[in-house]
């Protein structure tokens, strides 16, 4: 792709992704999640619980020097992730099919970590993120359950991350029904983010 037409911000539409029965992070939540990563061009981004890969793809297509490691345990999601990687031509995505935290030792380093899914191991994943990133690394997490909201918020504070932020994004979408526009509510997502603090690692 020539430099003129190079995308310079997240902006892939939900409809462009290959879908399955795997839940997918919607466009607006992706936009917010990616903005809190404060992505730099050479970043190595790890996406834990990558699902069908919507966040991984959005990040990878922007990094002309960096790369993405997508971690996912669900074989159906992995299959879709691979299709998306091919569809978007993202050569800088490595897909690891495994159930984190088991196998995370394969990843030596990350500038940025996204936690989209945690399979019940959220605290351990946050702890791993804290270890694998250098100072000033950024962690951004999406939560849809109250239990993970609690664990995520408590753990990120406990581990000494700073620049902490917690927002709930509640989206309603206009859907055309005949000649009228119905507002359809989507599930609210909590986005927690922080920067790895100076002390820990």
């Amino acid at each position: 792709m020539n430099n003129e037409k190079r995308p310079v911000n997240s902006g892939v539409k939900d409809s462009e992704f290959v879908r399955g029965k795997v839940p997918m992070t919607k466009a607006e939540v992706r936009a917010v999640t990616l903005s809190k990563l404060q992505l730099k061009n050479s970043d190595i981004v790890v996406d834990l619980g990558a699902g069908s890969g919507s966040l991984s793809i959005e990040a990878a297509r922007l990094l002309t020097e960096g790369s993405v490691v997508s971690v996912e345990r669900n074989p159906e999601a992995i299959a879709i992730l691979k299709q998306n990687r091919e569809k978007f031509g993202c050569k800088n995505i490595t897909i690891l099919e495994m159930e984190a935290p088991v196998g995370l030792d394969q990843i030596a380093y990350a500038d940025k970590v996204i936690i989209g899914g945690s399979g019940g191991h959220l605290a351990e994943l946050i702890d791993w993120a804290n270890k694998v990133m250098p100072e000033c690394g950024r962690l951004v997490m999406n939560m849809i359950t109250l239990e993970n909201l609690h664990i995520g918020w408590e753990t990120i504070q406990h581990l000494g991350f700073d620049e902490l932020e917690l927002v709930q994004i509640f989206v309603s979408r206009g859907k055309g029904v005949g000649s009228v526009t119905m507002m359809m509510g989507e599930n609210p997502v909590y986005v927690i983010s922080g920067r790895k603090g100076r002390i820990h690692g």
Copy 2:
């Protein structure tokens, strides 16, 4: 800035902007608004009702070949916009102090148009955007009043824009108060977007 550290996505924090008494589009709404522009590196972006410039700055810092024209009528906002342009070193931002639509004829072309404020002339601004952009140009608007929500949605449909989308972004933010986290509601923002259709121009 070297290419490694180049930002590749929106992600400036609200606290980094010079503020005034001028209302500022918050980070999450900026992220969503910018994602719907589907920015390309060489885009010329016009930001109507740029306010203190948060959207203009976020776009400009990503465009290594493109540029931004920020239009604003409020002298206080203009002053802050200039401070932000200097603070972020965005040489590719042109600031036009005027009350659109008067003076818009100075702008010959736009790939993308943002309407953040409309001073009561919303329909005319949308009409101008439709004329100044080529086919496939994208318009993204932020509304906080019901009247503009109605005018914006009706006008963009009437003028034949396609890929129409309307979402309401309702954010609540966790605020630390002592040892607890209070959820503070922010004003909901309607984000309407569309692509200039084939027929009109």
Copy 3:
């Protein structure tokens, strides 16, 4: 029912109503809608677009002297409304199967009017409510489409209702999934209310 156990506030659970494929106003929106009616015991309440009757039932069960007229055009909803009327033993509900505004002349008087559905005739229904109520009558409307939000808000202002209020109620509900609680977003509902002004009628 003896006076001790008499219900003194809305509070019927969604699960207690006979359902069908007809959309039903959820408990929280019912609670808000009914509170803005400022119900008095002898009120005659007209429920336009009563659907399966959840609002009609909630109101009727509280009125030991008043009554409810439920207007609905959909035969499937009428059937369910009748089942609910029987289930809850609400002898003070009259059901009129008709497509308002046609047939509304059968209703001579109302203290309070609810508009839950309008079948595209919203402005006329609001106008009728303004005529059928005495001074200080109250109108409360639920909107889920942007077009009706606009028509409802413009019309109620235009007809001189006062004590105007517009709120959007956006509910998310915790759903147990295994051992976790997922927050599920529901469609936002706009609740517009006002009191018939002194001048008109």
Copy 4:
């Protein structure tokens, strides 16, 4: 008040209450909270953290046989609560100025318990509610902090309450500014409710 004009549902407007600097539960959240109590006419309702008394007043004015015990620790709130009790003529409200849970032994029985504020003792207050109510008593709690959301939800489940429900009410309100209507977001409130189970007490 004669029986015709007797109020039969919550519906007091926010502006009717005496206010202070004490935060007040807004009308829509009051409506939802009261509906989940499933109030009966003879209920004895205990309102813990009654604040300025908006929930206590709404309940008391509906109970022609029941009564309300309002518990509050803040002297400023107590003063306002007393003014509201007088303004609304609610002879069936007893005000206890104390910091729960200390002093709760003064209350021998409750049909329904509301927890609006907990001063950091939420788990103990829920435990007390579980003991003071008979089978089928109902507890409804309002939370605005994440920590209390967690404690409230975990505790009510742990103590064996059933018919559990958790909703988040996110309200935006239209505010007239000149000739336009701005949507103003209010702080989201979590409303947790449950019925005392058969086993515990």
